[in-house]
Amino acid sequence: MVAKTLYDKLWDSHVVQDYGDGTALIYIDRHLIHEVTSPQAFEGLRIAHRKPWRIDANLAVSDHNVPTTDRTTIDDPISRLQLETLDHNCASFGIRQFKMSDIRQGIVHVIGPEQGFSLPGMSIVCGDSHTSTHGALAALAFGIGTSEVEHVLATQCLILKKSRNMLVQINGSLGRGVTAKDMILAVIGRIGMAGGTGHTIEFSGLAIQALSMEARMTVCNMSIEAGARAGLIAVDEATIAYLADRPMAPTGGLWDQAIAAWRDLRSDPGAGFDRVIEIDAHGIQPQVSWGTSPEMVVSVDGRVPDPGAESDPVKRDGMRKALAYMGLQANVPITDIPLDKVFIGSCTNSRNEDLRAAAEVVRGKRIAANIMQALVVPGSGLVRRQAEQEGLDRVFIEAGFEWREAGCSMCLGMNPDRLSPGERCASTSNRNFEGRQGSGGRTHLVSPPMAAAAAIAGHFVDVREF
């Protein structure tokens, strides 16, 4: 038998029809829907008089626009219309939805695994590029555009071109105070934000195996920032333990049958990869992004790079533009950069382990006087409730943080949580593009403990020495 990669296995098990030209009709097991990328797809169904193919493969939730404070009224009429449109579309097509008042509401990529809606071996899509998150469960999960949302709704399938296989093997073990976020930022810094374009990345190696499921989700989440539509991690005992007793996971005999099948969801020995990258986890330091693209990262003990040292003129110009936008000078130590705001949240880093790690850093301390706002936005209502049961809300509030309701919040600022022009933020989110967190806002991507330490110090600090 031909040795297959995990991606090959997932692809092969979902082929409805092979068109023989590198593309195939691929069956989609699960479709997550949110309010921003779905209205035009539902409108398309209505215009063509089409119905969803398989209602129960879908789960909808509002996350991008939702306020993280009081939710009884939504001031922005355009946001309100978009949220109401999702409610209306779900009601009229009979699609299951977690409403804003539901404790299970949250960021679409947090609730899928949390509910056991996302399972190993599935194909999972959503009109959101961070769908790669669910690949941590050895599911083929990737973001799609609105035309594809409509296509999945109508046919339960997508016409796809098979990607190439890429292996990112992370050997050794992470040092103390270094997290999965630092790991993936270091990978992006190494291969660049187009490094994985056209590929599905499988993450493997001892350092990956040692990660918890939540940390694996952080790694797969940012595959897209390395250019790869999907990231994957093989099934192991941690995967199975994580899924046991999840509300939508199989039970009884079906569970036994499922886990027997899931144990094969790993690349066969000797399977061929088109590209292999090896990284030593020991060498990874806490990372801080300095520019306007996630590949623009350095270690916390480093300095803002000097565009003058770059030989490629287009890259050099890009670095100059990034530094001008970020209001930074070349060669300044990262730990000398003062901050205005801190955001702990997003589909990258808003799960209970993230909140616990951040809370440990701030426990018994106060945010610095120059920090105008420090937000903690849990990834779901259930994450929030769990954190409150552990008393983490008190720890954050006593340190001067605001404790919010679940949603995407300041990761992209579609709701009222955003940066004002010129404000500088330590953020546990995934993108530092110009204007991402608010027009003119300056984003530095970091791990939750690094964001927490920066809130206390008022500038970046090495959390290992904090």
Binding site: D21, Q82, I159, G227, D317, L412, E434, G440
Partner: protein, 229 residues
């Protein structure tokens, strides 16, 4: 979607790597529930000096004179010339809708992000990839000659410059056919509805946990739809 076969249009240069979808259409404009009307906010933060909000009349906003699309010589451009990894970032199809609504029908770059590339071709926006030296030369030619136009001939897969220099480009034959015929993917897929049902049956046997009882009951209630095209 509108079919695209041949196009002669003014070329505008956007000389940056990694032009991301947040730059193409910032998030405050994603709240629309329509597919149209995004053109005035294309590249909003680069294009205007003031801060853009949704539901705002852009006609009276202050333009950034330094931004290339605001230069008089590029007014009415239908072809955008760019660098590596164009369209990276989020899956928002609004980025493609905004380019089309502005009047761009073709983006020429050294590479594109995967999701953007897929979205482009589902909406009749042609994304042409060329090698770096060819792109470099086009940037130089466009800068040198105001009113620089290109003819894009999808059928023969050629770009023709004003001085009749011909640049061949390659394109996936599936994408080419879809663009030239303006095909509706959903209609095509639904022609194979029987294959999809057969797959579901096989899958239900091999991996029944993927189909809960809830799912089968909902299936019988609504029934998979038939092709309506």
């Amino acid at each position: 979607m509108e079919a695209i076969k041949k196009l002669t249009g003014l070329v505008a240069p956007l000389d940056r790597h990694n032009v991301d979808t947040d730059a193409i259409i910032p998030k405050q404009f994603l709240k629309s529930i329509q597919r149209t009307g995004f053109g005035p906010n294309l590249f909003d933060e680069w294009r205007y000096l003031d801060q853009g909000g949704s539901a705002q009349d852009c006609a009276h906003r202050r333009l950034n004179p330094d931004f290339v699309l605001n230069h008089e010589r590029y007014r009415g451009a239908q072809i955008l010339l760019a660098r590596d990894n164009f369209g990276c970032g989020s899956s928002r199809e609004h980025a493609v809708w905004a380019l089309l609504d502005y009047g761009i029908r073709c983006v020429i770059a050294t590479s594109f992000a995967d999701i953007f590339f897929s979205n482009a071709h589902k909406n009749g926006l042609l994304a042409v990839m060329l090698a770096n030296p060819t792109i470099d030369r086009l940037f130089q030619d466009v800068a040198r000659a105001p009113g620089y136009k290109l003819t894009v001939d999808l059928e023969s897969q050629k770009l023709v410059t004003l001085e009749q220099r011909v640049i061949d480009f390659s394109i996936d034959p599936v994408i080419k056919r879809r663009l030239m015929e303006g095909l509706d993917d959903i209609g095509i897929t639904l022609q194979t509805a029987e294959l999809i049902r057969a797959y579901e049956q096989r899958r239900r046997q091999d991996a029944p946990w993927l189909f809960s009882e809830e799912i089968s009951s909902a299936d019988s209630l609504t029934g998979p739809n038939e092709s309506t095209t």
